[in-house]
């Protein structure tokens, strides 16, 4: 049997970040990953590092994360491909701009100043290629994008270097609690620790259910496409609200097109199917908004397996059922930016028993009146 201070299940950006931050607080974690670190959503997402348009409850987490992102090289000795050219939310017409105006005013009242309303002129300056008809939008200037696989791998590597044990390619079979300790059987080995962290992403719902704390998690497969290289025309990441789109040009000229259209996920076999009838809608939006892209060619498309909660915010914080159990999953297609900061907060919570960031909105028992079950898993 191998013992540790903390057992983390799941080697995504969240599990790896929590592992690293635990080591920085002098604790010894063991991380168990059924495939390899960054194999799923954490390694294949759009790489958006975004504070823009976050749920109010997530904003403090996102800001804490942003502070880490800006010094990511110091933490993991890797630049993670992070660039900070801002993220811009584009309003397609006046009816979309009005609620944006209200939101920015509300954020300002609450003391958050990262979102900034922009008019048509500033929008055109930031995003020269956007269709003439767009009247303005919102920018978050410190935002940007990073390379997700590079980032997750960097966290994994640094956690290991600081003393975390990373066990990959081994699936958790059983979990028992006895005398204040968790006993996790994985492969031919038993691991034991007083603290267990469920950072299992799309598989987090299954794990929570096994631990007697079911949540209504949907396993989804958000899709992304990449174009061939086109001349550089855009720096910031662009997102839309009405029609779904996220849009980012890389330094090599390729353009990533996403927006949360869903394919089909097969979490038991790690497979996904693309749904081209959905990606077609994605292509049409780009066609309408960025005439410059009309001649571009789609060279790759893919989907990752991800967890989505009914309210689109994660399950995060202490279990309401067991001592020594913490949840950190269900980030609902936007957990990548939160990874660095959330790992820091989890480590603080585990090491000190407290954190000054409110996790109330993320309680695992918030769905209790709903019809609970892991009904969406295959």
């Amino acid at each position: 049997m191998q013992t540790a201070d903390v057992i983390i299940v799941g080697g995504g950006i969240h599990g790896c970040s929590t592992a690293l931050h635990l080591t920085l607080r002098g604790l010894k974690p063991i991380l168990i990953e059924k495939d390899y670190a960054g194999r799923h959503a954490s390694g294949v997402n759009a790489g958006g590092v975004r504070q823009l348009m976050r749920h109010i409850a997530e904003i403090p987490l996102s800001i804490r994360s942003m502070d880490i992102w800006e010094k990511i090289q110091d933490l993991v000795e890797d630049d993670c491909g992070f660039d900070s050219h801002g993220q811009v939310l584009v309003a397609e017409d006046e009816s979309e701009l009005a609620p944006m105006r209200d939101r920015v005013a509300e954020l300002n009242l609450r003391g958050f100043n990262h979102e900034e309303l922009i008019d048509a002129e500033e929008l055109r300056r930031l995003v020269p290629a956007v269709a003439e008809s767009c009247p303005g939008g919102v920018v978050s200037r410190r935002d940007g994008a990073a390379n997700p696989a590079q980032t997750t791998t960097a966290f994994r590597r640094m956690a290991e270097r600081r003393g975390a044990r990373i066990i990959e390619g081994v699936r958790v079979d059983t979990i028992k609690r006895d005398g204040g300790h968790w006993y996790v059987t994985a492969g031919s080995e038993v691991y034991s620790a007083p603290v267990l962290v469920n950072a299992a992403g799309a598989w987090g719902g299954k794990l929570a259910a096994i631990l007697g704390e079911p949540v209504p998690l949907e396993v989804v497969a958000p899709m992304l496409m990449i174009t061939s290289r086109v001349p550089t025309f855009i720096k910031p990441v662009v997102i839309l609200r009405g029609r779904k789109l996220s849009f980012k040009q890389f330094e090599n000229g390729t353009v990533m097109i996403g927006g949360g259209y869903l394919g089909r996920a097969y979490p038991d076999t790690n497979e996904t199917d693309l749904d081209w009838t959905q990606l077609k809608n994605n292509a049409r939006t780009v066609w309408d908004l960025f005439p410059i892209m009309r001649e571009a060619t789609i060279v790759r498309a893919w989907a990752g397996i991800e967890a989505k909660m009914p309210d689109d915010i994660p399950v995060l914080g202490p279990s309401r059922k067991h001592d020594g159990l913490f949840h950190q999953f269900g980030f609902s297609l936007h957990g990548f930016q939160l990874g660095p900061g959330t790992g820091d907060i989890m480590a603080e919570l585990i090491a000190t028993g407290n954190t000054n960031i409110s996790l109330e909105a993320f309680r695992p028992d918030r769905f209790e009146t709903a019809d609970i079950g892991d009904k969406h898993e295959h």
Partner: protein
């Protein structure tokens, strides 16, 4: 060309690829009355082996040989069968619901079939020697394409290097067409003659025996041959100038304008892999091949694979495997029509005959490790992103464990060719470096679009087809 009005929204059978397997399969299912669509990227039928069979400008049939003419029968039978044909049409997607993504003349469609028969054939094995990306260095397959479709032979000083039946066939075709070959560098490892000898009896009774020996004799009379070649390096500033070679202790160099490389063909697996079909490593043919039953059924219900895409067997066996897949399809979709098509037993017997001698060829032409796994650090592996063998080895040293992790480090396989030109090399190089089998290392996780599709084409998919493929989320 664009989609014809007569195109149906759904088919009983969609056959992908109009080489011998696809032509035979589509003709057979259509003869049985199944609504059949044959889709092919080229404007004329024939695939690679019978490329331009109906349109080749080479009027003198002795240049390409009698085997090439056999393609005419397949095309005629297909044309009488009543199957629909979409030429000049790219298949960029296939999923486990058997929805086929097609693009044609700047538009795209999603069409569903009860059965899909993949007959996408083979592609040439990568041949990553130092300098293989220089202008002037090309593959023999590409050279033969030019010969068949346009009647072109290379101008300037030409050498061929590599091994395999196609090398000798192409050399003979060049000579018959009046071309000149300065030298042939035969990379067949000498040890292969011994391992292949065990399989000689099967080969002697195959048609390859006399045809093959005849071809080699024909070429050897006219061309200088260097055998047992162990190293090749193409040199030149902006284009090929010199080929430097080693054959054991012998070394030499030759000035060239054109170098053509070839070391056999491997199944073209991209579409099948992107559909999610299970594949396994073939340790004899040194490639991944789909896991299939005797008729060609894959791990996905309703999707079959026939021809060289199912494992290399050559043109004649490809046609028989196409028929076998078609017979299985008819047996499932319209069993009362089985009497109208050839019997399974007959086709099976003919297939066995065509496969005679294959084991001998597989062993004889098993390419040497030094030509599959680049030894020089500066040799380019991924042509699209210009990633060298040395860079890949360095990435392995800092933690890249397989081809998919390597993408994050080096972008290998992420360019426009979508891994077609580097995947085997990357898998074998990583396996070698990490002391694992290629099966353990695996292949790039491939996805549609397996061929690039323009944003305009994608946006052109008609709205009402959404209903064909309502997504069940979960």
């Amino acid at each position: 060309m664009s989609f014809p009005e007569s195109l149906h929204a759904a088919y009983d059978v969609i056959v992908i690829g109009a080489g011998p397997a696809g032509l035979a399969a589509a003709a057979t299912t259509a003869e049985a009355g199944l609504r059949t669509l044959l889709v092919d990227e080229n404007s004329a039928p024939g695939g690679q082996i019978y490329r331009a069979i109906t349109t080749s400008p080479l009027k003198n049939s002795s240049i390409l040989g009698k085997d090439y003419e056999a393609g005419n029968d397949l095309v005629h039978t297909f044309e009488k069968s009543g199957a629909d044909r979409l030429a000049g049409c790219t298949v960029w997607s296939l999923d486990r619901e058997r929805v086929v993504g097609l693009s044609c003349g700047g538009e795209a469609r999603l069409i569903k079939a009860e059965r899909v028969i993949i007959a996408t054939g083979a592609m040439e094995r990568p041949f990553p020697i130092p300098g293989w990306t220089l202008p002037g260095v090309m593959t023999i397959g590409a050279g033969q394409t030019l010969l068949k479709s346009s009647g072109l032979i290379p101008s300037g000083r030409l050498a061929l290097a590599g091994q395999g039946p196609l090398l000798w066939l192409y050399a003979a075709q060049i000579l018959r067409a009046g071309g000149h070959i300065a030298a042939i560098f035969d990379t067949t490892p000498l040890a292969n003659y011994i391992s292949a000898a065990l399989h000689l009896p099967g080969f002697i009774f195959s048609p390859y025996w006399t045809k093959g020996l005849g071809l080699i004799r024909e070429v050897k009379r006219a061309v200088k041959i260097v055998t047992g070649v162990t190293r090749l390096e193409a040199q030149g500033k902006n284009k090929l100038q010199t080929l430097v070679w080693e054959a054991g202790s012998r070394t030499g160099s030759i000035d060239l304008d054109v170098l053509m490389l070839h070391q056999g063909v491997v199944p073209h697996v991209n579409l099948a892999m992107a559909a999610g079909i299970k594949h396994e490593w073939d340790a004899i043919q040194l490639c991944f091949r789909p896991v299939l039953d005797e008729s060609g059924n894959s791990s996905i219900k309703g999707i079959m694979i026939a021809g060289d895409g199912a494992g290399i067997g050559g043109a004649e066996s490809a046609a028989e495997r196409g028929r076998l897949a078609a017979i299985d399809t008819v047996a499932n979709l319209r069993p009362d029509a089985l009497a109208q098509i050839p019997s399974r037993d007959n086709v099976r017997n003919r297939l066995a005959q065509t496969m005679r001698g294959r084991a001998f060829l597989d062993h004889l032409y098993r390419p040497s490790k030094v030509f599959r796994i680049p030894q020089d650090a500066s040799t380019i592996v991924c042509r699209c992103e210009e990633i060298t063998a040395g860079e890949i080895r360095a990435s392995i040293a800092i933690g890249a464990t397989g081809p998919n992790q390597l993408k994050a480090y080096r972008r290998t396989g992420m360019g426009p060719c979508q891994g077609r030109l580097c995947s085997l090399t990357v898998t074998e190089l990583m396996a070698d470096e990490r002391g694992k089998s290629p099966e353990e290392i695996g292949y790039y996780r491939l996805r549609s679009p397996v061929k690039p599709i323009s944003l305009a084409e994608l946006a052109s998919i008609p709205q009402d087809e959404t209903a064909i493929k309502a997504v069940v989320r979960g």
